[in-house]
């Protein structure tokens, strides 16, 4: 294969990574933006989505598309419900104190991970893709399903953007993000907004996981990398900024594939983590954010 | 006599707002100077610039002949500029004793000796009448006593310039009388820069008064001169003197 097609292939693979990453990171970014809560258990919601997708498709059987569609609807709903319960029972009682909530979400991370290990087991299990159509390009064939991931993610991102900017719900969320006390004074049920946003954030991660699980596999430790990458995306993109999050996700997704062509995965992670830590130290508003002053 | 504090063209902008706008200010040693002005005139921003809590957009600050414009706040404190907060911010979970011990142990040359620290703390507490409350957590003191503790902490720094930001706010009349006596005593060893809304307090204490309006100095002079100043009456005191 020539260099051109090779690069196209790498770019396509990178875009698939970016698409999933953008959804996951958007969930983390929304929760941080609106609630000022750093959710360390975010990756576990991602993992739960994948594990539930496997359980649902296995239970339904029949044509793979049927099970997959069911999983795409049911898994995020279950994950959202779990997140909502966690928010009501724990985060709300902590008054969203930033440091206490981090410790609490670390606790959630351990609990979810161990429960997944106990009930799902240590195996990695595949989920069959809903369709196996291959698009034949002049140089190589490419999975139609992977392209549909990119499309689905783009649609979801646009939908989220529309909800945030054009609807009453979006307005309420932005008002809460801007100044929760004033929002409360204007009769916005801030507590319910927080519950909804936390559930929504978890659901975005779960959807991303359901989309990716047919081309990767469900495993109880699979939440760690998405968590780290989401942190990186959110920090680079500027905390709480939707556009920054998407741009950073594409950047990281594309460069992840290219960097790992030159470096070992471990070295790539070392460099990426160190760079992001340095961004936080020297440019805490993110590479695309502007200073508040 | 050289001035203790001078500012030249001192400015601070917040976005488009010129909170302090080209202020030239001079303070002589030993003075009690009051700074008055309507809300939002830039008084607190001005003393925050002097104490180093915020950095100026432009201009210079000279303290005792040396340019201190670029120095961080803690070094200015060490050079003798003490600032007591407008909003009471004593260490609520520490005892009254520990609150005062913090400034004392830093200013003492032999701060390592427990006896010296204790003597210094008790002196400051006795001057402010808090000695019998030394082992109470500061957060459990009454509001008036917390204000006094703020002053005690400022005193313990042995400042050459003590900046008091609205020290009598929220105090009862009887407490205010004690306070006036206390400031007079402090002024024997230090220069005092006082932001104050309570006009009777200002008139009793101040040697000179500086009037701020919209980030600039509107007028400056003796209490009598300020009382007679038509521009001040219009801008600040309203129509009634």
């Amino acid at each position: 294969m020539h260099f051109g097609p090779h690069l196209l292939l790498a770019a396509l693979e990178g875009l698939v990574t970016s698409a999933v990453l953008a959804l996951t990171a958007l969930g983390l970014s929304l929760v941080f933006g609106v609630m000022r809560v750093v959710n360390v258990a975010h990756g576990e919601f991602f993992m739960l989505g994948a594990v539930l997708a496997w359980a649902i498709t296995a239970a339904i059987g029949g044509h793979p598309a049927l099970g997959f569609l069911a999983a795409l609807v049911i898994a995020p709903l279950i994950v959202g419900a779990i997140a909502l319960v966690a928010e009501r029972l724990v985060l709300r009682r902590l008054n969203y104190n930033p440091e206490a909530t981090i410790v609490a979400t670390i606790g959630m991370l351990y609990i979810i991970q161990q429960l997944a290990l106990s009930f799902y087991g240590p195996e990695a299990r595949p989920v069959e893709p809903p369709f196996s159509y291959r698009i034949l390009l002049p140089w190589f064939g490419y999975s139609g399903y992977k392209l549909s991931i990119i499309a689905a993610s783009a649609l979801l991102l646009i939908a989220t953007w529309l909800v945030l900017t054009r609807t009453r719900i979006g307005l309420i969320m932005r008002a809460t993000q801007y100044d929760s006390e004033t929002a409360q004074a204007f009769g916005i049920p801030v507590g319910r907004v927080y519950g909804g946003v936390f559930a929504l954030g978890a659901m975005l991660a779960a959807i991303a996981a359901v989309l990716i699980v047919p081309i990767s596999q469900a495993h109880y430790l699979m939440g760690q990398d998405p968590l780290l990458l989401s942190f990186i995306v959110v920090i680079i993109g500027g905390l709480g900024s939707l556009r920054g999050t998407v741009v950073a996700a594409v950047l990281i997704g594309l460069s992840d594939g290219i960097i790992s062509m030159f470096f070992s995965p471990t070295l790539a992670k070392i460099i990426a983590t160190l760079l992001v830590a340095m961004v936080l130290v020297f440019r805490p508003q993110g590479l695309f954010g502007t200073t508040s002053r | 006599m050289t001035p203790l504090l001078t500012t030249k063209g001192l400015s601070r902008h917040f976005g488009g707002l010129r909170a302090v706008d080209g202020v030239d200010f001079t303070l002589m040693p030993g003075e009690i100077r009051a700074v008055i002005g309507p809300n939002g005139a830039g008084k607190t921003t001005f003393v925050s610039l002097v104490s180093g809590r915020i950095q100026p957009s432009s201009g210079a600050i000279v303290f005792d002949g040396a340019d201190i414009t670029g120095l961080p706040a803690y070094i200015r404190v060490r050079q003798g500029i003490a600032y007591t907060f407008q909003i009471t911010s004593v260490f609520a979970n520490l005892s009254t004793y520990d609150n005062v011990a913090l400034p004392v142990q830093r200013t003492l040359s032999d701060g390592r000796s427990k006896g010296a620290v204790k003597a210094g703390v008790m002196t400051a507490l006795e001057r402010t009448g808090l000695a019998d409350r030394a082992h109470m957590p500061a957060g459990q003191l009454s509001y008036g006593h917390q204000r006094l503790l703020e002053v005690a902490m400022g005193l313990a720094l042995k400042p050459r310039l003590l900046i008091l930001d609205e020290p009598t706010q929220g105090l009862a009349d009887s407490e205010i009388d004690n306070f006036i006596t206390l400031v007079r005593e402090i002024a024997k060893n230090a220069t005092v820069l006082l932001i104050e809304h309570n006009m009777p307090v200002v008139m009793q204490l101040a040697d000179r008064i500086t009037v701020f309006n919209a980030g600039k100095i509107l007028a400056e002079g003796t209490p009598e001169a300020i009382r007679e100043n038509a521009a001040v009456q219009e801008a600040y005191l309203g129509t009634a003197p």
């Binding site: 750093v38 724990v90 009682r93 902590l94 930033p98 440091e99 206490a100 981090i102 410790v103 609490a104 670390i106 606790g107 959630m108 991370l109 351990y110 609990i111 161990q114 429960l115 290990l117 942190f231 920090i235 070992s264 471990t266 070295l267 070392i270 983590t273 160190l274 992001v276 830590a277 340095m278 936080l280 130290v281 805490p284 | 809590r53 961080p72 706040a73 803690y74 070094i75 404190v77 060490r78 003490a82 600032y83 907060f85 911010s89 260490f91 609520a92 979970n93 520490l94 520990d98 011990a101 913090l102 400034p103 142990q105 830093r106 200013t107 390592r112 204790k118 082992h135 902490m153 720094l157």
Partner: protein
């Protein structure tokens, strides 16, 4: 912090040390070894408490300081053939230097950003251990060979693999760090640290250079944690990457929260208690991380002051 009853405080601490000394003669073998391990890990928790409890800086990356001591000492013996005392000091030096560098960088941030940054630096440290697997042994880890773990003083020698020597060495380190901690928090420097925790802005306006004071605290904290790591490598003879993983940054936080942040004996109590809980429950479940998770949430929800913090608030105001 209080000026009252310093004698009482010192008596209590010496009493705890005496109790641990006596326990070495009465405990059955299994608990004897366990307690030695707990004492070393309690030193780790005390180092963490120095920063988290007294300065109010919540780090999620202290595993790197423990790891620096562990690998600094362990690899000095394994790869360079250093003697035990030299390797111990080498491990501590590694932790101190690392803490200085991390402190200079991470202290530019505050609050949540400080937590994330320390976690990321620790992750880099962990990945570096995996990356240089040929030297460090990667995630398999390495055993510090038994013959190397002997202290030679002229003709006499101390074998650190001997259970009694090991216990007494752990106790010596623990006692030293406990008394040093007590002295620090009772000193005027300790008072400044607490002031920074309570209100950093106000502390600056009393003429304190809060950045330098915090930096010193990070270095002291990191050095104590490295001493714990170095002792662990030499006394228990194993270095492995899991000791530098995120989990080992969370564990000291858990121990300190449980025992009581900003109490000198809290780290010991928390470590003992957590080991006890895991020991008891290990009969029913292998999922000990589940217990860690539940404990973390219950602590922050219902018991944020921990055991000794609550005791101090209710009954024992003099507790340091």
């Amino acid at each position: 912090m209080s000026e009252a009853s310093p004698a009482k405080a010192y008596a209590l601490h010496l009493g705890v040390i005496a109790l641990l000394f006596v326990l070495s003669f009465v405990l059955p073998d299994y608990y004897h070894g366990l307690l030695a391990r707990i004492m070393v890990l309690a030193v780790f928790a005390m180092g963490y408490n120095m920063l988290f409890g007294y300065v109010g800086l919540l780090s999620l990356g202290h595993a790197m300081f423990f790891g620096a001591g562990l690998y600094g000492a362990g690899l000095a013996v394994i790869q360079l053939g250093w003697s035990v005392p030299l390797a111990f000091l080498g491990g501590i030096a590694c932790g101190a230097v690392l803490a200085l560098v991390i402190g200079l960088l991470a202290l530019r941030t505050t609050g949540v950003a400080f937590m994330i940054v320390t976690m990321m630096f620790a992750q880099v440290f962990y990945l570096l251990i995996l990356y240089f697997a040929t030297w460090t042994g990667g995630d398999q880890g390495q055993v510090v060979p038994q013959p190397a773990r002997v202290l030679n003083f002229g003709t006499t020698s101390l074998d650190l693999t001997n259970p009694t020597v090991r216990y007494m060495s752990a106790l010596a380190l623990f006692s030293l760090v406990l008394l040093v901690t007590l002295a620090i928090v009772r000193s005027r420097y300790g008072r400044v640290l607490v002031a920074i925790r309570e209100n950093e802005e106000r502390t600056k306006m009393l003429g304190y250079d809060t950045f330098s004071n915090k930096l010193i605290a990070v270095v002291v904290s990191g050095t104590i944690c490295a001493a714990s790591g170095a002792a662990y490598a030499l006394l228990f003879g194993y270095v492995g990457s899991s000791f530098a993983s995120v989990q080992y940054s969370i564990l000291p936080l858990l121990w300190v929260l449980l025992g009581g942040a900003a109490t000198t004996l809290g780290p010991l109590i928390g470590t003992v208690f957590m080991y006890y809980v895991i020991d008891v429950t290990s009969g029913y479940t292998s999922a000990y991380l589940l217990i860690v998770g539940v404990a973390l949430i219950l602590l922050v929800l219902f018991f944020p002051k921990g055991i000794l913090g609550t005791a101090r608030q209710r009954w024992l105001g003099w507790l340091p």
